[in-house]
Symmetry: C2
Subunit: 389 residues, 2 copies
Amino acid sequence: MPASPIRKLVPYAEAAKQRGVMVYHLNIGQPDIETPPAIMQAVRDVHMRVLEYSHSAGNESYRRKLVEYYKRIGIAVTHEEILITTGGSEAILFAFFACLNPGDEVIIPEPFYANYNGFACTAGIRVIPIPSGIDTGFALPPVEDFERAITARTRAILICNPNNPTGYLYSTAEVEALGNICRKHELFLFSDEAYREFRYEDDSDYLSPLQLPGLEEHVVVMDTISKRYSACGARIGALVTRNKEVYQTALKFGQARLSPPGLAQVLGEAAVDLPENYFDGTREEYRRRRNLLVQRLNAMEGVFCPNPGGAFYAIARLPIDDCDRFCQWLLESFTHNNQTLMLAPATGFYATPGLGVNEVRLAYVLNTDAINAAMDCLEQALKVYPGRR
Amino acid sequence: MPASPIRKLVPYAEAAKQRGVMVYHLNIGQPDIETPPAIMQAVRDVHMRVLEYSHSAGNESYRRKLVEYYKRIGIAVTHEEILITTGGSEAILFAFFACLNPGDEVIIPEPFYANYNGFACTAGIRVIPIPSGIDTGFALPPVEDFERAITARTRAILICNPNNPTGYLYSTAEVEALGNICRKHELFLFSDEAYREFRYEDDSDYLSPLQLPGLEEHVVVMDTISKRYSACGARIGALVTRNKEVYQTALKFGQARLSPPGLAQVLGEAAVDLPENYFDGTREEYRRRRNLLVQRLNAMEGVFCPNPGGAFYAIARLPIDDCDRFCQWLLESFTHNNQTLMLAPATGFYATPGLGVNEVRLAYVLNTDAINAAMDCLEQALKVYPGRR
C-alpha cells in the first residue's frame, strides 16, 4: 500500500511551524468556505430516539432527494440507481470492487488523484496511466493513446471531471469521445464528479457521461458532497449507475459495511434544499482566486500555469530541478517575511516515473490576501532556490 | 462477493407486513435501547465553521479520550495505538488489509459473524472455519483443532468476544490459550470486542487479548460504539494495536479514505464521559431479556438453547428439518394472532456446509413483552410446521 504523496511533507511543515514560520497551505483540497449553516442546523434539528443503522444504500428519503438534485442538473436517475457511500472515497472503492477483478486494468489519464493508486492497490487492480501534458493544459489525450493502452485485462476508463489535480474541464466532445471508446471496447466509464459545480467559464460545455445515450450499462459516477458544500468531514458520497448488476454488486459491499454515516445523511439531504443560487457566491469566490493565482504564477519568470476551467486546483511548471526537493526546501530552508508555502509535488500525481518533475499542484482554497502573500513567497523563493534551472 | 445471509429473507418479511401481519424482528442486531440523549446533544452543541476532514486516524482529542476509556477497563494503550474507523466494519477490513496478503488464511471458530466472509472476500483472503458446537454452548474448540488448521498461509486467528452470533463469552483461560497458540505460531490475534460491555454473569472472568503480556506485536482489537451506546448509525469504530507496523499500514488505508465521519466522532467522544453507571441499566435490561428468552426456548419441546454469557444473541436448536426453509415459512405461511417472527437461519453463520441446519440465531433486541409474544408465535409455529422433526 503506497503512502499518500501529499502527506509525506507534513513533518517538514510541522517543524517549520514550530520554528514560528507561517505556512500557507496550498497543498491540500480542504476548502476554507463556510459549511452552509442551514445544513449544520439540520443535524441539530434531528430528534431520533435511536441512531439506527440506515439502509445499506442510504436513507431512501435522501436518495429520493438526490433524484431531484440530479434532475435539476439534467441527469435523469431513480433513487434505485443511487447508492449512498461513506464519502466519494467509498464510491471509488465500490466501483473498483464491483466492476474489476484482481489483476484487471483501469486506464486513467495522468496526472491523477493520488488516492486512486491506494484504492487500486486495495482492490488488487492495475492503473494504466495515459499521459496528458501541461502544454495542452492537460486536455484529454488522443483517442489513439487510449486504444493503444487497451489490453485483454482492461475493464474501465476513469476520468475526474473537472479534474483533480489539473483543474482541467473536459469538453462535451472529449466526454463523447470517451463514451465512444467505452462503447466500442465494452469498457466501464468511471466519472469522478466531485467538483461538478466548480466550473468558471461558459457553463454550457459540460457533460456527465450519465447524459450520454447508449452507455446505460457502462457509466458509473462517483460523487460526493465534500467539496460541493464544503463538508469534507461529513463523509457522504454516492455511486450512481443505471447498470443493475453493478449496483447490486456494489450494494453487497455496502451491506457488509452495514450503512453509511447516519447524521451526515441528514446534512446531505438538507443540502439539496439549499437555495438555487447557493453556488453562485462560492463559484465567484473561487473564480476570483483562480484568476489571481494563475495571473501571479504566469507573471513569474520561467513559470507556466495553464488556466484551469474547474475544480480548485492548478498545476504549474516551475524553473526548478526537482519538485519534491523544492517543496521540501520551501519548508525547511526558505522564508520570506517569516512566511513560506506548502505545495504538492506533481510527481505524486503521475504514475509514469520522471513525469511532472518540474511541476507542482496548487489548491486555491485560501482567500485572495493569503494567495497574494503565498505568491510573494513563491516568487521570492524561485529567485533564491539553489536548484533553479 | 457473497450476499448477506440475514438480508435474503427481507422480501418475505416485507410481503408479510404488506399483508397486515405484525413481524417481530429477532433477526438483526439493531438494539432498541435509546441512544443516550447526552451524546446526541453533544453533536447539537458543535459549532464549527467548516466541517473539515479530521485526521485520518481520527481526532486526537477523541483518541486521547478513548485512552481514558480503555484505562478504566484495565487496558493500557496510547492515543497513537488507536485508529478511529468508520464503524467496526472498517476496523475489521483494515486489520485484514494490513495483516494479510491475498491468499493468506485467517482461522475463525464457527459459527461466526457472516460479514467476516464479505470482508475476507474484499481482502482476497481465505476464512478457515473451526467448528464449535451447541452442546458445549459454543465454547472455544480444543487447541489441537486450531493447530491442525494452521498452514503455511495462516496469518491470524479471529475471535469475537462476547460472541456474535452465539453469545458465548470466552473465559480468561480460553483467551490465554489462544494467546499461546498465536505466540507459538507467530500469528496475529484479532479480537472483535463490539459487545465488550454486554456480559451478564460474574464480570471477573473476562480478558481482552490486549491485557495479555508478550503479545504486543500480535494483537489487533476491532472495536465500535455501535452496540455499546446504541449508536449503530454513527459509524464509529476503532482499531487498537500496539504493533507499530500494523498501525502504520492500517493508517495508509485510512489516509486513502481521508478520514472517519466528523460529526459522529464528537458523539463518540462525548460517550466516554457518560456516567460510570450508564451500562448498569442497559446490562440489567438485556439480562432480563436473555433470561426470559432462554427460559421460554428451553421450555418448548425439542428446543435447546445454551445460556449465552454475553452480547445479545442466542443460538437455539429447533426440532426442524431446515432452518432456511423454516424461517421463510414463518414469514410466508404462518401467523399466530396475526403475528409472526423473523429469525436468522444459523446456516448463514457457518462456513462448513451442512452445519447449523436445525439452528437459528435470535437477537434479544426487543423488550420483554415483545419477546414473550414472539416466543408464543414460535411455540405455536413449531407445533404446526410441516417440516418438524
